[in-house]
């Protein structure tokens, strides 16, 4: 049967099980859009293509499936770039489809022409320029396969307008054309045995649980492993939720704004078992003094990550779930009570978290907001955060029990990520309670997507942690630039009125006792709700390991405040 290239695009997507795409039409992608109504695919019209990319990313992170973004050539395509780079850094499976000018005028600086495959080359797993209709279907099928296989990531397919328009004979039943390529060779049993021997011999082992645990669905396996070995588990930012926060062996987050005792435990450990994490500089601090007492086991699906930042003793190449299962079967059952009690001791001086020592003085602290939000949502919400102070406070005070309950831009640290990513997540998880936690700065970068929430009738709760500053930059200015607050004071619109202008409910909270009422009202409201939390303006995130410092060199909250037993 004859098909157009445009039809081939949607047939490939239907074949991949795609139900929702996020996009924005324009000249070079119009033939594809014209063919869309013939297919059971919901198109979500975004307000800016960056939003489309973040939505596809958020959808992917919330579901584990491949997210899809669509844009036109030129500016439409370049607007996707930040979202693609975000997905690349956090290994999020995504396929971006862009229209391109007709092949006859490629390379002539035609209207809305950009060499977009040249632009996205270093920020995609792979990309394609398709100029013939018959190549569209196999290319897209291959793109989906690449996006989700191995270490997942974004794949970009740029399709010329004439390829969309041309007709050809499509036989999808023949399937995609096989291409050459390698499969990851998992590490041999001998390496697993070596790793198990290291674990058995260790007195102070520590699991570093990363995004790979979440991606590979290895949470239950990790609980089993930790309980059998008595190994405490620390998480990276993207690993939060991969191991239940309430588990006795859960330590919390490591790194720059990690728990003090976690960073101390890393420096004291004699074995690190790194599972699906990549020793990012925000996690290690100064490399030359990082975990000097520890042997290291690195479970990693991407061989190019081995020995990149931290030299390891045993590298286990493969999927985290596979490795954890294999290791659990090989290790001895141990209690390790001496090590556990030592960590409890270390916790001692910092166990009274800042939240409990913040006096209830009528002032509203971000920590209060996050703590109460955790309590009022019973810790079961899917939280999507933006980037900055609020992101770290969320990581510290919202206890995640389940994988895929926190979505955040870790590697690239993309401000403006939260709202569109939450919209994407909404389509993946229609029944879950979703909260956006964003700062007043980042929220304004993509606030236009409130309009998308209104048009698509979406239910998302938005908590703006509004401190009138670009808070994290202000904090660095306070600590490292003599409090010269250059370009960080921020004037925002009235967020309540902004919500109302979109036909949405807007609420304002200025004191702690108002938090519960506002959160409850948001939970009960039918549509998207924006809550403007007016918090302390010059509060900082503690503890903090300054960039490239030893993990023991933490900046602590300077004025210990009185504990108030009244805090919930």
């Amino acid at each position: 049967m004859k098909r157009t290239g445009s039809q081939a695009i949607w047939e490939a997507l239907v074949g991949e099980g795609v139900e929702t795409v996020f996009g924005y039409p324009g000249g070079a992608i119009m033939p594809a859009y014209d063919a869309l109504p013939g297919y059971a695919i919901r198109h979500v019209l975004v307000r800016h293509e960056q939003g489309a990319a973040h939505m596809a990313d958020g959808y992917a992170r919330a579901s584990g499936k491949v997210g899809v973004a669509v844009a036109t050539s030129g500016p439409g395509a370049t607007n996707l770039v930040t979202g693609i780079a975000t997905a690349m850094m956090d290994s999020s499976p995504m396929v971006c489809i862009t229209g391109q000018v007709s092949s006859a005028v490629l390379g002539t600086d035609a209207f809305q022409e950009t060499d977009i495959t040249g632009v996205t080359l270093p920020i995609t797993k792979h990309n394609y320029l398709v100029t013939r209709a018959e190549e569209i279907y196999p290319t897209l099928r291959e793109a989906f396969h690449l996006a989700r296989s191995g270490r997942p990531g974004p794949v970009h397919v740029d399709i010329t307008k004439d390829a969309q328009q041309a007709s050809f004979e499509l036989r999808p039943e023949e399937g995609p054309v096989p291409r050459s390529g390698r499969k990851l060779r998992p590490s041999p049993p001998a390496d697993l045995d070596r790793a198990a021997a290291l674990i058995d011999a260790a007195e102070r082992p520590l699991v570093l649980s990363g995004h790979g645990i979440v991606r590979s669905g290895a949470s239950d396996l990790l609980v089993e492993f930790a309980e059998k070995t008595g190994c405490p588990v620390a998480s990276t930012l993207l690993g939060l939720g991969g191991f239940p926060a309430s588990h006795p062996l859960s330590l919390g987050m490591m790194g720059m704004h990690g728990e003090a005792w976690v960073n101390k435990a890393i420096q004291d450990a004699d074995l690190l078992i790194a599972l699906g994490m990549r020793f990012d500089d925000r996690v290690t601090g100064k490399l030359s003094t990082y975990a000097q007492n520890a042997r290291k086991i690195h479970v990693e699906i991407d061989p190019s990550e081995i020995n990149k930042n931290v030299k390891v003793d045993v590298a286990l190449m493969g999927d985290a779930a596979w490795a954890v299962r294999e290791l659990t079967g090989r290790v001895r059952s141990q209690k390790r009570s001496a090590w556990s009690s030592r960590i409890s001791e270390m916790k001692g001086d910092s166990a009274v978290r800042d939240i409990q020592s913040l006096p209830h003085s009528g002032r509203l602290f971000a920590a209060h907001v996050l703590h109460d939000l955790w309590r009022l949502t019973s810790g079961r919400a899917l939280v999507v955060t933006d980037v900055g102070q609020h992101q770290m406070w969320e990581a510290q005070y919202y206890k995640h029990e389940r994988p895929r309950s926190l979505i955040t831009s870790g590697g690239l640290g993309t401000m403006g990520f939260a709202l569109p990513a939450a919209i994407g997540a909404r389509f993946a998880r229609p029944d879950d309670e979703i909260w956006v936690v964003a700062g007043d700065g980042g929220f304004q970068m993509t606030a236009c997507e409130l309009s998308t929430c209104a048009q698509e009738n979406l239910k998302i709760n938005v908590a703006i942690i509004n401190n009138g500053f670009l808070g994290m930059v202000r904090q660095w200015q306070e600590f490292f630039y003599n409090r010269r607050y250059v370009a960080t004071p921020l004037l925002s619109p009235d967020f309540v009125k902004l919500a109302e202008a979109h036909g949405l409910l807007g609420l304002r909270v200025t004191a702690r006792e108002e938090i519960e009422g506002a959160v409850t009202r948001a939970q009960q409201a039918a549509g998207t709700v924006v809550i403007d939390f007016r918090v302390e303006q010059e509060d900082s995130v503690y503890p903090m390991v300054p960039s490239n410092s030893d993990l023991r060199e933490m900046i602590r909250r300077p004025t210990p405040m009185l504990e108030t037993g009244a805090d919930p």
Binding site: R141, E142, V177, P178, S180, R182, K183, I306
Partner: protein, 175 residues
Amino acid sequence: MKTAVAHTFVATVEDRPGALNRVVSLFRRRGFNIASLTVGTTERPGVSRITLVVNSDADTARRVQANLEKLVDVLQVQDLTGVAAVTREFALVKASVPPEKRAEVLRLCGLFRARVVDVSPATLTVEITGAPDKVDALLEVVRPYGIAEMVRTGPLAMGRGAEVNEVKVQAWMAA
């Protein structure tokens, strides 16, 4: 202190638009230092072969290989460092040689089995094929006369013996 040595890699790549660009872009953004890069066709249609020399320590060299293997268009990467291999380079050298010195330079070139490909009243152009150190040595002896122009291809490499660098094609779409 990590010591940098020359590592030679042979990468077989699918001959697709942009394949070379992907390899070069990888080196640029990861900060790997390319000493030389040579591309050519192979016994298989649609497959090109890139010979790469990288000056790096052993850890970086391993990461170069792992990163190359991540590229979809790259079929296979072989590390020929420290392996019995034939390594050959080609160079064209235009030396400033006045007629009275011509015989002397020709004699030197003869020692290296360099072949004269052009002569003018003031210059002598020779071609040489050999291992990179042989090319280095010829340049060394010609340099005092004055090298007006010179170009080298960078090395090509192939493992010795009956073992063949066979490109394994897997139908991974089925996986």
